[in-house]
């Protein structure tokens, strides 16, 4: 019996090649999209799975309130560590203090590499359950010990044994390699933890870190914990909530500090905070694409349903015969479901091939390293389930519909299909186009938002600027000298240093008083230390006042504000006003405002610029050199010259640089990724819908061949016939536009609200999407309707 069904299914597929192609091709695209999105979602959800203690690990955050506005971040003060260890120790298995993961230079003989790593407490090794490849398990016991990841060890030592060797860290510390641990895979936090050095060394390495031990206001450190076995994340989270509030001095209590835990499970997907409460994050995109995947699959299933029911007249006779020779309805239902199972299985194989072909491109687009898990039995189980699900989704309705025919009617030939199924079919087509149009509108808006933000003035000229990281102490005090070296080389027209990269803010400062400051106002500024040529090098325009100048030695205590800071402070005439530290014991003189510059976009391009203070970096201990290259020479010559100058002065350090405009463009990477993925899926959704439409149009043209013939004999022109055949479909698309537009507006309005700097949802987006949908429809169905309209009527009439 089953064999018989498959035979029929196969012969039907073979006989109606166009329909079969549309069915299988459409389904395989839909399934390929679903598989790809499925793999992507799985990849997203399995982030940090490398860590076997994942469930118990958390990062500690603090939430502070400034002027009623809540800020939650993972930068913590050092005294919190002792507070937790002394009073809350029962709750934890491990408490791990860590520096930020920063770039560092590792040097062994004449091999110098730039890598990234952290100063971290030894609890990390067990907490992260690192797999030690060589050396001792606790490799952070001694002050001068360093643990390397396998690939870092390989890069420095090749195949020789690294254990016991001494390498130089940041041209400063001599470190002995104690252990090598397995690389942490990319799909995990800490994947860029290429080396680990003891936290104690960090504490001893700088005065400000040592002093931070009892400064509750100095949030400059990270803390990770693993909770004890006998408790829960929620429990511990609640228990330590007031740890800072109870221990910190009064000036800190004013910010209403709350301590909270962000479980490792949520680091990647749910790391946003709103008013001190976790509020989603990347998980929204996981949901979004999950839904898109389901919808694209649904579109393909709709094609299957529509084409099956449209062709019902052809199958009706078979149903009638089978019923009259003894088949009952459930057997027919099984037969038709079997056919869809067959078709879907074929389509799935095609889908896997499509996935194989396009996975590389998809990985580039989504910046992933996804592979098809051929050898994973779970994958095949899921595939089987997926095939069954798709078969049921696409095959149930046709099976129920086809098996319902009355044998007497169909065998007498009085049966006319189409009428019965016409309404559901129309509803399905409208569903398809509604989904497609929503996707079109969404994609256009995402692109428009990105374009809008990209066109936002950044406040300075980012073309032809490069930055060179200067984290090694070798650079300290050499700013003026190096500036001179670079400029005399001819490759650089100006140079300035900064304590944060131009595209980010690494430090904030507050606690100033100024004339007219409202009482109780908790001030907070982005704080950038620069060399005096900063504004000139960047091309940053002044609104009022003057730039730093070496002519005024007092400029060491001068400050330049950005426009937002002037508004923020409520100053009418800022120039000449003083900003004092609220701490009366502060030995430094107050800052004198000498100038106001345009706002620079340093952080999110979607948010307004933060109020910013620029002061002179007295110690010449910057984080970056910013070089304005000579525009009269080619970029490559400039870079060559700059590298030469760099190597001459810092022979021990690798030459690294980044283009500022490229770095700025990075800010759009995540949204652009969404946009390009969305446009690919939209294109596929449209393709699938059009395939279905094409199939339906050819069916209708075929069904109405006789009518067309008669009309033609009676004098209808080709244009008349084309209109006649196209009208019905166009009406459906217009209905779809009417349904899709408000839905799309609703969803997209919600999406765009998350950007402060946002474009508006213009009417032309809807017009464009609608016009696009209509023209695609016309093109798709015209192919069939013109073919039908131009056919010789004598032929079509004779066949009756």
């Amino acid at each position: 019996m089953i064999k018989n069904y498959f035979k029929i299914a196969w012969r039907n597929l073979w006989k109606h090649k166009v329909y079969s192609f549309i069915n299988i091709f459409g389904l395989s695209i839909g399934m390929a999209v679903a598989v790809m999105i499925g793999l992507w979602v799985h990849d997203e959800l399995s982030f940090n799975d490398y860590f076997s203690n994942k469930k118990g690990i958390a990062q500690v955050y603090q939430s502070l309130t400034y002027n009623g506005e809540n800020l939650t971040y993972n930068a913590l003060p050092r005294p919190l560590e002792m507070e937790l260890r002394n009073k809350y120790n029962d709750n934890f298995k491990h408490i791990v203090m860590s520096s930020w993961n920063t770039a560092g230079y590792l040097e062994y003989k004449d091999i110098k590499i730039s890598s990234s790593g952290s100063f971290i407490q030894e609890g990390a090794i067990d907490m992260l359950n690192l797999k030690i490849v060589k050396g001792v398990r606790n490799g952070l016991a001694e002050l001068n010990s360093i643990m390397l990841s396998a690939s870092t060890a390989k890069a420095i030592f090749g195949d020789t044994d690294p254990i016991g060797k001494t390498i130089k860290l940041n041209s400063e510390h001599d470190m002995q390699v104690t252990a090598v641990y397995e690389d942490i895979p990319k799909n995990n936090s800490f994947h860029d933890l290429n080396y680990m050095t003891p936290w104690k060394l960090y504490v001893n390495s700088a005065e400000w870190i040592k002093n931070a031990a009892d400064q509750w206001g100095n949030g400059s450190f990270q803390m990770f914990v693993q909770i004890a076995d006998n408790t829960t994340m929620e429990q511990v989270d609640k228990t330590i909530r007031l740890a800072k509030m109870n221990a910190a001095p009064d000036d800190q209590k004013a910010y209403n500090p709350k301590i909270l835990l962000l479980p490792m499970n949520d680091w990647y997907l749910r790391s946003n905070f709103e008013n001190g409460v976790q509020s989603g994050g990347r998980i929204e995109y996981v949901w979004l694409f999950g839904i898109v995947g389901v919808f694209v699959l649904l579109l393909a299933c709709i094609n299957f349903m529509n084409l099956s029911t449209a062709r019902s007249e052809k199958r009706a006779k078979e149903v009638g015969i089978r019923k009259s020779i003894g088949s009952n309805r459930s057997q027919l239902i099984r037969q038709f479901l079997g056919e869809s199972l067959f078709t879907v299985s074929v389509a799935y194989i095609a889908a896997l091939i499509l996935v194989m072909i396009s996975l590389k491109g998809f990985n580039t687009l989504a910046s992933k390293e996804i592979i098809l898990p051929w050898t994973n039995s779970q994958f095949w189980m899921l595939s089987l389930g997926f095939i069954l699900f798709t078969s049921l989704l696409s095959g149930s309705y046709p099976a129920l519909y086809l098996s319902s025919f009355n044998p007497v009617k169909v065998l007498k030939g009085t049966f006319k299909a189409g009428k019965l199924a016409a309404l559901p079919r129309k509803v399905l087509v409208v569903t398809q186009f509604t989904v497609s149009i929503i996707l079109i509108i969404g994609t256009i808006l995402v692109m428009k938002q990105i374009q809008y933000t990209k066109n936002r003035p950044v406040g300075y000229n980012k073309e032809g600027l490069i930055q060179i990281p200067t984290n090694s102490p070798d650079f300290y005090g050499k700013t003026d000298f190096m500036r001179n070296e670079f400029i005399t080389s001819g490759a650089v027209v100006n140079m300035a240093t900064s304590s944060s990269p131009l595209t980010d803010v690494w430090s904030n400062n507050g606690g100033y008083t100024w004339e007219g400051k409202p009482i109780g106002f908790q001030d907070d500024f982005a704080f950038i230390m620069v060399s005096p040529e900063y504004a000139k090098t960047l091309g940053l325009a002044f609104v009022e006042g003057r730039d730093f100048s070496i002519k005024f030695p007092t400029d060491s205590s001068a400050v330049i504000l950005n426009k937002t800071a002037v508004e923020y402070m409520g100053l009418k005439n800022p120039i000449g006003k003083l900003m004092r530290d609220s701490n009366e014991d502060d030995p430094d003189p107050p800052l004198k405002i000498i100038g106001v510059v345009e706002d620079m976009v340093m952080q999110s391009p979607y948010e307004p610029s933060k109020q910013t203070l620029y002061v002179i970096d007295k110690y010449q201990a910057s984080s970056y050199y910013n070089l304005r290259m000579n525009p009269d020479r080619s970029v490559s010559t400039n870079l060559e010259t700059i590298e030469k100058v760099f190597k001459k002065n810092f022979p021990g350090l690798p030459f690294e640089y980044e283009f500022i405009d490229a770095q700025y463009a990075q800010k759009f990477a995540s949204e652009e990724r969404v946009a390009s993925l969305a446009s690919v899926f939209t294109a596929l959704a449209i393709l699938i819908s059009c395939l279905g439409l094409f199939g339906l149009a050819s069916f209708v043209a075929e069904q109405r061949t006789k009518e067309i013939g008669v009309r033609k004999v009676l004098g209808a022109s080709i244009l008349n016939l084309w209109k006649l055949l196209s009208k019905d479909f166009l009406v459906l698309v217009v209905i779809s536009i009417a349904i899709a537009s408000p839905l799309a507006y609703y969803f997209m309005n919600q999406w765009i609200q998350k950007f402060t700097y946002r474009t508006d949802i213009s009417w032309w987006i809807f017009l464009l999407a609608g016009a696009g949908a209509i023209s695609i429809t016309i093109i798709t169905i015209s192919f069939q309707s013109i073919k039908a309209a131009t056919a010789n009527p004598i032929k079509s009439l004779r066949t009756e």
Binding site: N4, K7, I325
Partner: protein, 222 residues
């Protein structure tokens, strides 16, 4: 008695008026009979045949088939009854286009869940009997009308029904092919199969043992 129809009414409502397809129809059929139903177009011949074959319902009346009250039976029970005892032959043959001759004949057996080896034997017998062994792998479209109808009859006979219902079995055939089919029916009847055929042709009707005339849905005894 094989079957009995008593006071059968069947109607359709259209535009507030009721049209009778069958009106107080009576019929008694004994096993082994060969009955020809005749009558003008629209007199209800095919409807009567479909009612007998349980493919179509009726609105009023009593129908007993082998002492089972068909008018009281559930759909499934009825289906089992006609699957077991009735075979259909159609004017337009109604073979499944996607199946070969062999598979077309085999299909009813599949629905009766008969084992593979037995099916093979039964189909082979049938092919043999109708001299179409050489055509078993052809598709219906590759056969002449007469050959297609032979396959149709073979398919109807494969389940060894007590009753064959034939709706103008020769209607689409030329006279020579038609004659052959009627001879075949006669022979089957002599082997004990009850046959009811609908026909327009006086000549074909003569093959039967009894002729029933229908006019406006009512049986007119002669």
């Amino acid at each position: 008695m094989l079957l009995e129809l008593k006071n059968i009414y069947k109607w359709v409502n259209s535009g507030g008026r009721r049209f009778y397809l069958l009106k107080d129809a009576h019929l008694q059929v004994e096993e082994g009979e060969f009955i020809s139903i005749m009558g003008p177009s629209g007199s209800g011949k095919s409807t009567l045949l479909n009612v007998i074959g349980m493919l179509d319902d009726f609105n009023e009346g009593e129908y007993n088939f082998l002492d089972e009250p068909v008018h009281q039976l559930k759909e499934k029970h009825k289906a089992n009854l006609y699957k077991e005892y009735i075979g259909f032959v159609f004017q337009a043959y109604h073979l499944i286009d996607e199946l070969t001759v062999y598979e077309n004949i085999e299909t009813p057996l599949l629905y009766k869940k008969i084992s593979g080896s037995e099916r093979k034997a039964l189909v082979a017998d049938m092919l043999d009997r109708f001299n179409i062994v050489g055509k078993k792998d052809l598709f219906p479209s590759q056969l002449s009308g007469g050959q297609q109808q032979l396959v149709g009859i073979a398919r109807a006979l494969i389940t060894k029904p007590k009753l064959i219902l034939a709706d103008e079995p020769t209607g689409n055939l030329n006279s020579k092919q038609g004659e052959e089919i009627m001879e075949l029916f006669k022979q089957l009847n002599e082997e004990g199969v009850t046959i009811i055929q609908v026909t327009h042709s006086e000549k074909n009707a003569e093959y039967g043992s009894r002729i029933i005339n229908l006019l406006d849905g009512t049986v007119i005894e002669k």
